[in-house]
């Protein structure tokens, strides 16, 4: 099946528009606690999700909005869940980190790496109950440091389970750079388990599609688990309000919140020699510039796809985007109306 960039762009654009609306509602304080959005991951999700069939299971991390949306969950139902409303996906009981949709076999977890073992179990059930279907585990590069995920990969190989492990690698485990947290090369690591492994640029939705097509054929025909290593960025960092991005975006606010206390550590009596202290401070500056890579526009999957579509047919592109804007605006209005009416 040949991928159609127009339709994939539509899938990405709809997700982007919805998550941007969620970001605004979070800023207004109508969503409590943390909010992990998939802004920047759309190329990976849109390259995979449209290729799934009924009965395929999704094991998600704390960043499940985009995949659920692309799997057909009503955005209004998701938004109500994020706002803790009784009409939400899980009656407002779970929130955005704990999204569960049994009708499409989709389950989430706020525990890093938990998708791995769960996917092995769903794949076992798939082998028995729904032959030809598979389970997908989505996780970040940070999760590859979790034993449970490594154990799940081993189990999936020795039991020849139909699992597709998808690593969305943005090079950061919360605020810790992958180069200081993830040992070796993840492709080689997966291959060492005996898995077929693919590496792909997650900003290139067509490349993700092509790799996924091959991977799925392998898994569905009994070839055992596969590993897809997709590089991406997170336009909002780990979560909304990410401290490292905040230093870039609101330097004045961050100055007294984050920077001055750190500088205090330079001069406090007792501790490391000054050279060691300065090295630590320099490393932090380096972190902020690592965070800057998260928002590089050329690594944005939507910009990448849009560039060629804008050349091909600008009118069609504008109409496509306007259509999704209208859909999401009316979704947000429908969710917020009863809340305002009741207040």
């Amino acid at each position: 099946m040949a991928p159609d960039l127009w339709s994939l762009y539509g899938v990405m654009y709809r997700s982007r528009t919805f998550e941007e609306a969620v970001r605004q509602i979070w800023k207004e304080g109508l969503i409590s606690g943390e909010m992990h959005l998939g802004l920047g991951e759309e190329g990976i999700m849109a390259g995979i999700l449209p290729q799934l069939v009924e009965g395929d299971a999704l094991l998600l991390d704390h960043r499940g909005t985009a995949p659920l949306l692309m799997r057909g969950v009503d955005p209004a139902v998701l938004l109500r869940e994020f706002m803790g409303l009784p009409e939400g996906l899980c009656h407002g009981m779970g929130g955005h980190m704990h999204l569960f949709a049994p009708e499409i076999l989709a389950a989430s977890s706020g525990i890093v790496g938990a998708a791995g073992p769960a996917a092995a179990g769903f794949a076992l059930a798939a082998q028995t109950l729904r032959p030809g279907t598979i389970a997908l585990a989505f996780f970040g590069d940070g999760a590859t440091s979790q034993g449970m995920l490594m154990e799940a990969m081993n189990l999936a190989v020795v039991w020849n389970l139909p699992v597709m492990f998808v690593c969305k690698d943005n090079g950061m485990a919360i605020t810790t750079p992958a180069r200081t947290a993830v040992a070796g090369n993840l492709l080689l690591r997966a291959q060492a388990f005996g898995m077929k492994a693919f590496e792909v640029d997650g900003a290139d939705v067509l490349a993700v599609w092509a790799a996924t097509e091959q991977a799925l054929r392998h898994v569905r025909t009994g070839g055992g688990p596969v590993f897809l290593w997709a590089h991406c960025i997170h336009l909002e960092g780990h979560f909304l309000g990410d401290g490292l991005l905040d230093i870039m975006r609101r330097p004045f606010y961050s100055l007294h919140k984050r920077i001055l206390p750190m500088l205090g550590g330079l001069f406090t009596k007792g501790g490391a020699p000054l050279g060691v202290r300065l090295a630590a401070l320099r490393q932090t500056t380096g972190l902020v510039s690592a965070a800057r890579e998260q928002v590089l526009r050329e690594r944005d999957p939507l910009r990448r796809a849009r560039r060629s579509l804008a050349v091909e047919d600008p009118g069609r592109l504008a109409a496509l985007e306007a259509g999704f804007q209208r859909e999401i605006q009316s979704c947000v209005a429908s969710v917020q109306q009863p809340a305002h009416g009741g207040a």
Binding site: G29, M93, S145, Q146, A181, R250, G270, A272
Partner: protein, 338 residues
């Protein structure tokens, strides 16, 4: 007297201890950013970021403690300690007993706990009863900045593994990190007296296993800890208006548990109300009843605990966690005849 926030007090006490003792080091997820001042002051050798590998880095802390270091290992949320449960339950906690008292693992697991800021039931648990259930594990849950710093030094000097919990509602840093994310559009019912207050300089260690009577009361004793202390004090003020004199006993540590002080207070007031943000079943609340019964005391008993998975919905969350209204209602029940 110097004033300090809750987390800042712990960092300050830890900094003092690290300056005095080279064997102390801090590691955990994102600690270089979350404790930036300590990171700059002591450098990357003693303040280390870890991969997201709780089983490995808590297990490594146990080994490092056995081999002579005094590790402070931070598990970002106590909800993530189950990932490292084996290291704590089967190894750290057992070493002293298995070695016939020949070997100890003096590590401090620093972790955040508690709910009330809308983060859902996998990020807002307390779990202190679950941990204190294990012989060999000590569990500390302070309620003010001064206690936090002092008890942290106490934990560092303790010759056994200690789980030290920071309630997120008491910590402006953690609330900003996990709750508001820099927004001023969200509000939390956070007790001001627990978030910020006077602290001693220099820090002196406070002993583990000593409860503190926060408020004298003639009619009943509220046993509690963490944010519960502040909720109970607020409830006691309400009860006073209604002619009920409620005392508030801050347990400060779940294990070791100050059974003596608990029994003294219950013997005096003959009424015990436990306010415990942790789960109700098989936990601290039942344990306190058993302690007082075993001491042969006769008393009326009630408890305000968390009974279910904490809902994400803010209103349901507020009802699920112990709150002032629930405490007042239970106290009045204990005061009613029959």
């Amino acid at each position: 007297m110097k004033q300090m926030g809750f987390s800042a007090a712990i960092d300050d006490a830890l900094g003092q201890a690290m300056a005095d003792d080279d064997r102390i080091l801090l590691f955990g997820e994102d600690v270089q950013g979350l404790h930036g001042e300590l990171y700059v002051r002591f450098g990357s050798g003693r303040v280390r970021n870890t991969p997201i590998s709780e089983a490995a880095f808590v297990g490594a802390a146990v080994g490092a403690a056995m081999a002579g270091l005094r590790p402070v290992v931070e598990v970002m949320l106590v909800d993530f300690t189950p990932v490292a449960a084996d290291a704590l339950i089967n190894h750290a906690a057992k070493l002293d007993a298995f070695s016939g008292g020949r070997w100890q693992a003096p590590l401090v697991v620093r972790t955040t706990c508690g709910g009330g800021y809308g983060d859902g039931g996998q990020h807002e648990q307390s779990l202190w009863g679950w941990l204190a259930h294990i012989p060999g594990l000590s569990v500390v849950v302070p309620s003010t900045p001064a206690e936090a710093g002092g008890l942290f030094l106490g934990a560092l000097g303790y010759e056994a593994p200690v789980v030290f919990m920071e309630h997120k509602l008491l910590s402006r840093q953690w609330l900003e990190f996990l709750g508001s994310g820099g927004r001023d559009t969200v509000h939390y019912d956070a007790p001001a007296a627990g978030q910020f207050g006077p602290v001693p300089q220099p820090w002196e260690p406070l002993p583990l296993g000593k409860a503190l009577l926060r408020r004298e009361g003639a009619d009943l004793t509220i046993c509690t800890l963490g944010v519960g202390v502040h909720r109970a004090l607020e409830a006691a003020a309400v009860l006073e208006q209604q002619g009920v004199s409620a005392g508030v006993l801050d347990l400060r540590t779940v294990a070791p548990l100050d059974k003596t002080t608990v029994c003294e207070q219950v013997a005096r007031t003959r009424r015990l109300l436990v306010v415990d943000e942790d789960y109700e079943a098989c936990g601290l609340s039942g344990e306190l009843a058993a302690v007082a019964l075993e001491a042969g005391l006769s008393f009326r008993y009630g408890r305000v605990c968390t009974r279910a998975t904490i809902p994400y919905n803010r209103k349901l969350e507020a009802e699920t966690l112990p709150n002032v209204r629930r405490i007042v209602d239970e106290c009045l029940k204990l005061m009613s005849p029959g």
